[in-house]
């Protein structure tokens, strides 16, 4: 009998086809740390026909919203996000990289006005989607290490 590595969930979200090695970044984006009340299942380095290797994250009793999806799209634009209700895929939420990344990245330039106490959200213009290149709307600098600047 085939042993299931990851069991189905009743309600929640399954993020599949995450590039291998990025599952922990996805957890960081979702703010999954100590204060989590539901079950989170992470499968890393799973064989995949399409990708060779992939990661999977399953979060029970939580459906992901707009900004969380935008953040995931930044690091894993080809991932699939399925909302599960009563063991069935109730909704497939497409990941689309927005033209502007608002409030989801921090500018790496310490001298940028967006890093000062001002009533604004960070804002980046997506200059290219593949490879991903973003430029700060305020200081005009390109963000080099995008993943580590996710808010």
């Amino acid at each position: 009998m085939r042993e299931l590595r990851v069991t189905p969930i009743k309600n929640g979200t399954v993020i599949d086809h995450i590039p291998a090695g990025l599952a922990l970044k996805v957890l960081k984006i979702l703010g999954i740390g100590d204060a989590v009340t539901s079950t989170v299942t992470v499968a890393m380095h799973v064989p995949s026909q399409a990708m060779g290797w992939k990661d999977i994250v399953k979060v029970e009793d939580r459906e992901l919203g707009g900004r969380e999806l935008d953040k995931i799209a930044l690091i894993a634009p080809a991932a699939t996000v399925n909302v599960i209700r009563n063991y069935n895929v109730a909704e497939k939420r497409p990941l689309a990289l927005p033209d502007r990344a608002v409030g989801i990245l921090r500018c790496a330039n310490p001298n940028c006005i967006s890093n000062v106490r001002e009533p604004i959200e960070s804002s980046f213009v997506v200059r290219s989607k593949s490879p991903l290149r973003v430029v700060c709307k305020y200081c005009d600098r390109e963000l080099e290490d995008i993943v580590s600047h996710i808010l």
Partner: protein, 310 residues
Amino acid sequence: MSSFRGRDVLSIRDFTPADIQLVLRTARKMVPIAVGEKRSRSLEGKILSTLFYEPSTRTRLSFESAMARLGGRALGFSSAEGTSVQKGETLADTIRMVEAYSDAIVLRHPHEGAARLAAEFTEKPVINAGDGAGQHPTQTLLDLYTIWDEKGSFEGQNVTLVGDLKYGRTVHSLAYALAELGAHLTFVSPPTLEMPTEILEQVKEKGLSFRAAHRLEEVIRDADVLYVTRIQKERFPDPQEYEKVAGSYRVDMEVLRDAKRGLIIMHPLPRVTEIAPEVDRTKHAVYFKQAFNAVPVRMALLDLILGEGA
């Protein structure tokens, strides 16, 4: 009515070549007023706020002079000391307050992107007078005016930028604008202070080729315009290394031996040792004229943005 009425001036990138040409032509018409030969009341009753969060005598005074020459008034501060900024007021709040006192706002601020933020919090036009190491579009416009006024055009001119091309903000905007206007560019700098790849990419995108060199002597004979910038001591951990590098980019009569007769030498000022005083007496030196050009160019911008005839 021009497209300039009420417009923000945040970055030279917001200007099309046609916009730049309009500013330059308008600036030329302003010269007799800027030198006091003619009078103008075209901005009578208008108020300009000059908010300088860090000192910049030249930029602030030329804006205030430009406004006064056109019959308008300027008010503001020349450092953050003694203002509500020191009490912890955000830039956004200061801008919302100043909006009520004036028709346009000139802003110099130590943080990059400050002018763009300011423009988001007011309906009044915001003119960026330098934001940290970011943009300084009115400096670029007065540099462009100087080249155009002296040379008559941009296309085909060999413009050589020399000095600190990595950190010098004026040269980045200038290189971008000159590429847009069809000038040939040559970059001369020490290996550690080369033009950033991003700027080089943008020049290439305009379909223009450029030259890069480490020695001024290699390229001086081809130059029509030599734009000299200061190499700052603090960029070098070793003072001796600085002396060596700075000395090798000094423009003096010896370096100019092979230069074209019509070569013009520009510098955003203040200079330290990068141009020898003996050069001041030659026909090549236009840097003091360049400094004067700040007034007609800023008058042109203010008139286009605020004037009734605009």
